[in-house]
């Protein structure tokens, strides 16, 4: 143990004099600063958008009040009012965008059928979105492993080339210990650089000290540990420095570029999700066909699911608001099963991705980061669930008035239901142990390779 610590001390001194190492860590730092800066801007835009919501809503209500002064039909007022819902980015989402720039941050809902209102996208530039983001998660998932590989890929080949190997072996030193000390010290340097960067990001973006932010840091370390194991394998398999560089690069390209892309492709081919469109088309069909049916038929369908309202007077005449809303709700209910299946399908995608990513540390780390930042698909689905709950609340609030055909004065608008953004914590955070097992497994393989007859 003492000998190992002495080795580590020697490695630290060696590292401090290594210009290349300083350069690599400096480049990583610079990339991270750029990523944090863009993350800061992105968060500021999201928060400004959400901060502007009450203002927009107030203006909107004023316009409605003007239209319905002194009073108006509650059904017509509910029809005209859009209610804002929002999904604020957590500070960590500035560091791991995940899917947040593809899905809406704000959805305005009306008392009409909900299914058609959930899948609209924010305005965005498809060409720019397709390129991905330069966020801190990208720096940590893709660039930090590369920095580590650059620093340690020739840990053994250089010794072998300079002829110090036999010397070391003669002194009774263990090659494995040397490799462990070198990779340990250099991996620590990269990990510390990443941690400094993360600390800086936390200060700039006001990231609170929570289990999520600590989990982020832990994920960054564990991810690098997995890569250190892979780097050890790279270091032991190659014979010359040039070969070890080629191997390191190949491993990086396969792990960071190819396998994640292959996972995506496989998943999109194996689990295609296209129900969103069918849902809306069918729901719309249901709603519009109701115009041509006897009113009573739609009402009866509605009463089956919502018996509380069956005592209200029957619908007569061509247009009554309660019939209109019943028709919309029947439209929603007719696609409820498909809607559930659609969401279940999306969640299955997420689960299977996480399982398949066990062997692709960068992909797994990306999932870890975006989950802890609340910027993954699950977080968006949870937001849509909150919108659903809010929409149900709207129905509970307005139906008694609509079914009693009551009028409303603008003074009553203040009591309208409001969306509350109580974001629940993610169900069960993705575990870190798959990466630890990967780290241990590759380290063990590397050690076995060292003991083999090849040395």
């Amino acid at each position: 143990m003492k000998a190992f610590l002495r080795l580590c001390g020697w490695e630290v001194r060696h590292l401090r004099r290594d210009r290349q190492a300083w350069l690599v860590c400096g480049a990583l730092l610079a990339a991270a600063v750029v990523a944090i800066w863009t993350g800061e801007r992105r968060l500021a835009r999201n928060h400004a958008e959400i901060a502007a919501l009450p203002g927009h809503y107030a203006t909107h209500l004023e316009a409605i009040a003007k239209q319905f002064t002194p009073q108006g039909d509650s059904g017509y007022i509910a029809y005209s009012t859009f209610f804002p819902t929002h999904h604020a980015m957590t500070p960590l989402a500035g560091l791991a965008v995940g899917v947040r720039d593809l899905v809406p941050n704000v959805i305005w809902v009306r008392l009409l059928g909900l299914e058609g209102q959930l899948y609209e996208a924010d305005l965005g530039n498809p060409g720019i979105q397709a390129l991905g983001n330069f966020d801190l998660a990208f720096v940590l998932c893709a660039l930090a492993p590369l920095a580590l590989l650059v620093l340690v890929h020739d840990a053994l080949t250089r010794e072998r080339e300079s002829g110090r190997f036999p010397l070391l072996a003669a002194q009774g030193g263990s090659v494995a210990a040397l490799l462990a000390a070198r990779i340990g010290v250099r991996g620590l340097a990269v990990a510390l650089t990443s941690s400094v960067v993360f600390g800086f990001a936390c200060v700039r973006l006001n990231v609170p000290l929570t289990t999520e932010s600590l989990g982020w840091l832990a994920a960054a370390w564990v991810h690098l540990a997995a890569w250190a194991g892979i780097a050890a394998l790279v270091a032991v398999v190659a014979r010359t420095p040039a070969a070890s560089l080629a191997v390191a690069l190949t491993v990086w390209v396969v792990q960071v570029v190819l396998l994640p892309a292959l996972l995506n492709l496989g998943l999109a081919t194996a689990l295609p999700v296209r129900e969103g469109l069918e849902l809306t088309v069918r729901q719309r069909q249901e709603i519009h066909s109701a115009w041509d049916k006897p009113r009573g038929e739609t009402m009866d369908k509605f009463f089956v699911q919502n018996p509380d309202w069956s005592g209200t007077p029957p619908v007569t005449g061509r247009f009554v608001w309660k019939w209109y809303y019943a028709m919309h709700q029947v439209g929603d209910e007719s696609v409820a099963a498909e809607s559930n299946a659609y969401r279940e399908n999306l969640r299955a995608r997420q689960r299977i991705t996480a399982r398949l990513a066990w062997l692709v540390p960068s992909a797994y780390a990306q999932l870890l980061f975006s989950q802890r930042a609340g910027s993954d698909l699950d977080a968006h689905l949870a937001y849509l669930d909150r919108v659903r709950a809010f929409h149900a609340e709207m129905r509970t609030y307005f139906y008694p008035m609509v079914f009693a055909e009551r009028n409303l004065t603008p003074a009553a608008y203040a009591a309208f239901p409001q969306f509350r953004a109580n974001v629940p914590p993610p169900p069960a955070p993705l575990p870190l142990w798959p990466l630890l097992i990967l780290a241990a497994g590759s380290a063990a393989l590397a050690t076995r390779h060292l003991r083999g007859p090849t040395l």
Binding site: L102, N125, A130, A242, N264, V281, R284, L377
Partner: protein, 460 residues
Amino acid sequence: MLPIARHTFTELSRDGRFRLNAALLVVLSVVAGLAGWQQVRALRAEAAAAAAGERGRWLDQGNKNTHSAAHYGVYAFKEPRPLAVVDPGVQAYLGSTVYLEAHKQNEPLYRPAQDGTALQRFGDLSPALVGQALLPLLVILLGFAAFAGERERGTLRQLLALGVRPVDLLLGKALGFTAALALVLAPLALLGIAAAAALAPAGQRTDELLRALAWAAAYAVYLGAFLFLTLAVSALARSPRTALVVLLAFWLVGVVALPRALSDFGRTLHPTPSSIAFRTELEAALGDPHGRETLEAQRVAILKQYGVTKTQDLPVNWSGIALQFGEERANGLFDRFYQNLWSTLVAQDRIFQLGALLSPAPALQLVSQALAGNDTAQHFAFLTQAEHHRREMQRTLNGALRDSKGSTAAFEWGKIPPFVFNPPPLTTALAPLLPSLGFLLAWFAVTALVALASLRRLRA
């Protein structure tokens, strides 16, 4: 020169590492291409089925009020382009469906990317990804030692002493590498040509085939630039290791990091307006009381024209006129607002285009997407055509409503033609790309010149 080329090629074709890497890349791109093929066919079948269903429902509306039908609306679908097989471009990031209804220009719906996990930000595997990111890497790995390695082994001095001209050495090696790389690029090109031939509708086949050929040519120019760059660095570098490190750093920054950074940079410089701000302003403009006043003036003028005092006494149905008036007023506003929005997106794209000053990758990405028919501009063409269809549809329906006074006959729903997207032809698609094409060719020319200039260092 030719013997050098032959020698370089033979050496490469015997090199196990080259054969392994090349085979791997070819297999990957073919697998990705076939998966893409499958997806294009599935998406097309779905779009066709959905469009047929929509059409059937539309024609089967019976004796319905034409304005109710206008509210019921139709969905316009965009079928995937054949060359999505080689470069899906922005396909997953844009909606392939627009809902066309009365009074409203809608945003496209259902972007497949919205249903993806956070992993998709790594990019999708496609022949384009192989060509844009991995083939340059292959070029670097093959060529970094071309001169630096010979110098280290001392064979360079021998060759020059034998009287071999440096220019012949450069061109010979370049030719040899090109022949080897052509073996890898050819399957990609064939994939594109096959997709264009098999998947394009009859009327667009020539256009798509030209696109496929131009697509392959663009990648050849791009890889040529990387080849000359690699040879130049190899001639200038003191050791093969230095050459490799310099080239890899360029690849990492120029191909991997830069496009993402430009994406964020573009959005920061030209932020996309938030949906609410956009909609609130649009709705405020639509609800402007001025609209109601001009409509009233119109009503008075028409009453005067027919010499009556009440709209009920008009020989035509006033609501048809009023609705069409509202449509036309709104159309002017939609044009103004969407032009504004799109010009922001174009400004973001321009930042990306300027990134070609630093690396050939952004230029190739834009050219490749556009040739495949999957860039933002051709997406806008779909939206523009869909919106045009919507306006024509409203005009016809409102006209029928106007003339329906006293008649109980059902509207002939077939009078509204089905929506068909006509993709812009190659020349139109290429027009906005001239800067990118220029950048791409400039990269090729400049790297070739630098490679020639670097030959002076060979004798040193």
